[in-house]
Amino acid sequence: MIRLLDFLNHTLFWYYLASNLSYLAMLIVALKTSAVHQRRLKSYRLEWFKESPLAPPVTIIAPAHNEEQSIRVAVRNLLELDYSQLEVIIVNDGSEDRTLEEMREEFRLRPVRAVYIPEAKSAAVRGLYRSETNASLLVVDKEPGGSKADAVNAGLNAATSPYVCIVDADSVLERDALLRIMVPIMADPKRVVAVGGIIRVLNGSEIEGGYLKRVRLPRKSIEVIQVIEYLRAFLIGREAWGQGNMLTIISGAFGVFRTDLVRAVGGYRPQAIGEDFDLVTRLHRYLLEKGTDYRIHFVPDPMCWTEVPSDLQSLGRQRARWQKGLLDVLWPNRDMLFRPRFGRIGCLALPYLWLFELFAPVIEIAGIITIIVAGCLGVLSREFALQFLLFGYAFATVISIGSVLQEEITYKRYNDWQDVIRLVSYCFLEHFPYRQMHMLWRLQGLWQYFRGDVVWKPLKRKGLESARAR
């Protein structure tokens, strides 16, 4: 028993140290990368690219399901993005409300026979509509497919541009977001096959006419903690992984892909729980198997603002789903692990995800239990355990404050003093009891997966409804 406890304590110690050190390394890489990125941006004149012939055509695909309250504002927002050659495809995914009618009235839709070749799997299409007021808007009306992946695939089948940008209809894109996310592609069109943008928390901010008027921190603690999580995940994690061409997730709320490649891998997998992670992993596999020289980029300045869960129940469901999605992708791709042909993805990125993302809740919970048991059996140095806990706490706050610092010196979207003080305060407060709850949700996700509960359930969001009210 004691041997086992000792082994588990050893594991916990080294695991925790490795996890924190890897995040520290990522923080250092991210700080450097974003400084270089900021300087590079000055070399490009974004205004010039607005009308540039070098900007390739892009199709935005936005799936919408029961979005009658916000669809008008959302579509207008997309059509007004700064980009010269833009096509917007809204996929009405079997909405039971007036989503289609709202669009019909606002944009004077008329039925058309647009090019629709069902290359990617999707539920049956009921009709295609083109706007009379803006020819670049196409609406695909389809039977409910039960997943976002299914809806995106329908849009993919109708897309006519060499690049597709996948967004959520209830997210808010900054006006120059598309232009910014396309910069790496314009810079290296031969190698760059996909680019991910940054997702920021919309809750609490003021929106007018579909545009962000003023960025504010949300009021609820649970939302503020998610702001920190998003900053940490995007400004540190993805920035660092992207730098090493090891990005395995491009958020489904905002990402650009080369259309022919997405079609070549069969589009999104409709049954996938984490469809965005699944797609990027399959793209890596496809390109590495073909021996292609390619890059998948992350750029931190094109911003997409999205609503995050504002109650514990929804958040728990979301996190459990993310964990299920992780396992759902990692398990079928286990053959990529430590295979030289899959390069850094197989030897570094995927093992990291297995060890520090998938197993994290199991190891952490097991570790906590063994410390408690060891303490009860009297085989624990309490002084050292306390110090170790303090060290872990201080280290974790360094990472969190580092992400806030990164935000401060680069994009500085939270201008209000009060917001910054609250943001920093939550860097210290998020570790108890939120972190433990988070672990339990993730464990729950794993449990659900093994039980076979893998149905894709969308979260109920208010989205731009609140914006409309203002």
Partner: protein
Amino acid sequence: MESIFERLWRLGPAAFVLKAIVAAAVADGIFLAFILLRRTYRKWYFAKRDARVFALRQGWDKLISGAIPYETWRNKALDRRIVESIALDALEAAGAEESARLLKFLRESGLLEKRIFEARKFNGWRRMRALVALGQTRAPEGIPALAEGLRARDMETRLAALRGLGRMASPQAAAEILTWVGERGLCVPALPLQSALIQCCAERPQQLIPYLQHATGPLRETLGRVLGEVATPALSQDLLEFVGDDLDELRAAAARAMSHAERGLAFDVLNELVSDPVWFVRLRAIISLGTLCEARAIPDLIRGLTDSHRLVRLRAAEALVKLRSELVPIFQKVVETQDRYGLQAYLTALENASLRGELEGELQAGSPGSSVAQKKLWKILQAGVLLADEPEMAESGAAKSAWLP
């Protein structure tokens, strides 16, 4: 048995952990202090700057006419920076007369000379800032200093110089950039180079030709792309030598440039390029044919409509519907191809251009050949698909679906 924590305590790592706690706490403190100090400083600085901007703008006309002596603001760093940034912003949007007035002010006040000095003598961010500002002035005397910047060791400085020369948008700036890439090759990312050259070569694109002839590898592709954007009819003959080039990018650039070329030549060349084995060369050729918008392009565009690549088909369809006077004959030819993907693409383009009604009207009004043919076309237009009694259509569609991109 001892726990790992006890062992670490006894062996000494406890001291390490203690130190680590202190280090982490110090790091937290430094991060927080940095955020706090930076915010405080920025608040103070911007308040001060806004007040000075307001004050200087009040007497702006007197200031640039020299009625207010230059020495009153030139010796104060903040004022000098503000005056320069207001002048440069004004230059961006100024007409010819206002530009000349502002440039005269920059010269007489010594701001231009100062920037040239900084661009030559300084290093790091001060040099980069000077290079970009020099470009914004569009003053020809800044070009030599910018050209020196292109030869800097540091990549960021080279990019700043390139950006500055791009802003100049003049043949002299283009000559400097081209001489530099001729000497050093492609030593900056392609996009800023393309962007700068497109701006600078718009007036005299023939400058590119000799460099393109001697360039190799990625530089050749980059220059080819620029040529594709800036080519004019005067360059038609020069472009011919790139039509059969080994580089796909260069053939695509030639195809793109042909839309600006003399028409007779353009059709001959594009006729060849629409059969290119590389899809984006064919795509470029089809788009150029669409730009030329002439009936003699119809056979090539119809061929593009049956292309194996979806984008080529779509662009060919868009080009075909631009030929409004030929709606019925084109539709007849589209049907004759027996290609359902082509037909679908054509009907989509027709509907997107709101021309479906016009075609229906023409089909009803006059006969394209026999009344049977007219009826058949009408039925196809209404159904949106090729008729089922044509077996070869189904075969060709099924065969194509197997190898579509």
